[in-house]
């Protein structure tokens, strides 16, 4: 079978699986549509959360980013996993006890304020929307490269699949499809990683091969070899960093706090039956995520070593097939500046002489080809990339549709609508959201990458402090929470907009506030939110007694099972 036939087979089989699962698990009530009836077992929810969380960026781009950033890439590894500790210890159990359906539900009820609910809805929609456009684009890229069909057609097919199971199945359909998608994506990630680890170090486990000696008989450690190669070519040593310590600190914190504040992740903890299940499902989720996240830096180092070894000073006429294949997509470009027919790939010390530009996404996508793995592995990687993108897109679409149908209409503008109307509205909104996301997938705004910093920064500066204060202080009132959220959002948004959109040429360390980049500013926004909220609530009236009772109740696990039956 050819590589392309294998890819069609793998992608086709995985899609058939998702559709089958979606039909089997249709939703029939708003409770099932929003939170899968609150009956998802902890380990299943953990797996679904892992697929929901790991997007096209985790699957396709992260190892590549690390490969080019070296130690500085740790901000993603720690930032996107450490947030789960915060989720498990500070948010998930209490939000599960609270019950209900959405993050704005909690903010609106705890702060007895429609203004607070409205601010939360706007943030939830904005954060989710920025994310989903990127996922659709990822679907398009995988389709066009591996199946050689038009990128737009690829996006349409992706939209069709997501529409089918998100709109019909709601949270219940999404949960069980995500379980299937997790299995596909982790298998697709680990198989090539294991092959490459065996090839380069003789170790089956990539995480161990990462710190082992090379299999070429030299007895040299892989990372020492890579440091040496990097330095020779004028790059910084792979295991040392370039970014300022303070900046790395703040970026990591912003990603952690942002992760814990992302509505599509938080909402997953509403779907389990009990408080103890919410705690353990956060643990399972992180375990399933860690499987990929500890493997990614190993893949990054293997790929980097491989790349420097095979490409540097190689004659252009003799490059392997994968080089030509990816050159055709424009993700690798070579310009023979000195006309010697050899590829000079050199780092920052001699940047004018560099002849090769490599897109970071190639590291994962082309890895099986670079390591000459069989055709079915390449097909598997395509199916895995699609699984990662589709599962995240579906979770985000659900957040958008519940935000509009539940928070904006049912709890806001039109409280009298029936459950049936609410459910129909949720489906229609999900449908519209799919179409809008597809539009941006086909015509990507140039700023998708920039807006991701935005999504994390806003989630960190708005939701996280508001929820934490709502649980851990009884005294926090609506004045404090709303002013905290508004100050956090405005500060973070202004900083990011200033450096990313208004004055992009000033976006460098010497102009930043205390040397903190726009990616890390969400941490400062969150801190401001905490300070302002505590200060304002100290000088304004305490919340009503019923709210203080509610907080008391949230802190005790018993009774979470009933919470759903009452509200659903």
């Amino acid at each position: 079978m050819t590589v392309q036939a294998w890819t069609f087979t793998m992608v086709g089989l995985s899609f058939a699986l998702y559709i089958g699962v979606a039909i089997w698990s249709r939703a029939t009530s708003t409770g099932e549509f929003y939170v899968a009836g609150g009956r998802v077992p902890a380990i299943v929810n953990g797996m679904a959360t892992a697929a929901d969380w790991m997007s096209a960026a985790s699957f396709i781009s992260m190892a590549g980013l690390i490969s080019f950033m070296g130690r500085d890439g740790s901000v993603y590894l720690m930032g996107w996993t450490g947030g789960y500790v915060l989720l498990a210890l500070l948010l998930a159990p209490y939000l599960r006890k609270f019950g209900k359906f959405t993050v704005p539900d909690f903010v609106g009820d705890r702060y007895y304020s429609q203004t607070a609910r409205f601010v939360a809805v706007i943030c939830a929609i904005f954060v989710s929307f920025t994310y989903v456009a990127g996922q659709m684009r990822g679907v398009g890229i995988v389709f066009s490269r591996f199946l050689e069909i038009d990128i737009n057609l690829g996006v349409f097919i992706g939209m069709g699949i997501v529409f089918f199971y998100a709109v019909l199945g709601g949270m219940k359909g999404i949960t069980y499809t995500q379980v299937a998608q997790y299995c596909v994506l982790i298998f697709a990630y680990l198989v090539p990683a294991i092959f490459i680890s065996l090839l380069m170090t003789g170790n089956v486990i990539p995480q161990i091969g990462f710190g082992a000696t090379l299999a070429d008989g030299s007895g040299e450690f892989l990372l020492d070899k890579l440091d040496g190669l990097s330095r020779e070519l004028g790059f910084t040593a792979y295991t040392s960093g370039q970014r300022g310590t303070l900046d790395v600190f703040f970026i990591t914190a912003a990603l952690m706090v942002g992760t814990a504040g992302l509505p599509h992740v938080i909402v997953r903890f509403y779907t389990v039956p009990r408080v103890s299940a919410a705690r353990s499902s956060a643990g399972w989720a992180l375990l399933f995520i860690a499987l990929l996240y500890t493997c990614a830096p190993a893949v990054a180092a293997f790929a980097r070593t491989n790349l420097l070894n095979t490409i540097s000073e190689a004659p252009y006429e003799e490059v392997p097939d994968w080089f030509k294949n990816w050159e055709a997509t424009g993700l690798i470009t070579f310009e023979d500046k000195n006309g010697d027919g050899l590829i000079q790939y050199v780092g920052s010390n001699a940047v004018m002489d560099n002849e090769l530009t490599i897109d970071r996404d190639i590291i994962v996508l082309a890895n099986p080809e670079i390591a000459r793995l069989p055709g079915w592995v390449i097909g598997l990687v395509a199916a895995g990339g699609l699984a990662a993108a589709l599962s995240t897109a579906a979770g985000l679409l659900l957040v958008m549709s519940t935000s509009v149908a539940h928070d904006l209409l049912k709890k806001g503008l039109l409280p009298d609508i029936t459950e049936h109307t609410e459910l129909t509205t949720a489906r229609v909104v999900a449908g519209i959201a799919v179409c809008v996301a597809g539009y941006f997938g086909i015509n990507p705004p140039g700023f998708v990458a920039q807006v991701v910093a935005f999504a994390f920064g806003l989630a960190a500066a708005s939701f996280f402090p508001a929820i934490i204060l709502g649980i851990f202080t009884k005294r926090m009132n609506k004045y404090g929470a709303v002013s905290g959220m508004i100050v956090g959002i405005i500060f973070t948004a202004a900083y990011i907009i200033y450096f990313k959109f208004l004055q992009p040429d000033l976006n460098s360390a010497e102009h930043w506030l205390f040397g903190i980049s726009p990616e890390g500013i969400g941490t400062v926004g969150a801190a401001l939110n905490f300070v302002v909220a505590l200060a304002v609530s100290a000088v304004t009236p305490a919340p009503p007694a019923t709210i203080q009772m509610l907080v008391e109740e949230i802190r005790i696990p018993r009774g979470a099972g009933e919470a759903h039956e009452v509200s659903a």
Partner: protein
């Protein structure tokens, strides 16, 4: 357990667990992986520099362990204060 006093005790114990676990969380990630990474890098751990290993591997393993320790401690605490939930309902 319905007395305010026992609720209060349960909550204080909970906060203590969370506090200790978050200190560990901070030390392995922000401490070992970021603030003291260069100092730790002078120590070898197999083929790794230790600081680099914490930043790209070790911190993540500790995160997973922390959550499961928390789950264990809290389940025990819930039982002790009889605020746990019956697991008889359908799952």
């Amino acid at each position: 357990m319905d007395t305010n006093d026992s609720r209060h005790q349960y909550w204080r114990r909970n906060l203590r667990y969370v506090g200790v676990l978050l200190i560990v969380w901070f030390v392995v990630s922000f401490g070992c992986g970021i603030l003291f990474v260069d100092e730790l890098d002078t120590i070898r751990f197999g083929g790794f520099k230790l600081g680099f290993w914490f930043a790209q591997q070790g911190a993540i393993y500790v995160f997973v362990a922390l959550i499961f320790v928390y789950v264990f401690l809290m389940n025990r605490l819930d039982k002790r204060f009889s605020v746990d939930e019956p697991s008889t309902q359908a799952e």
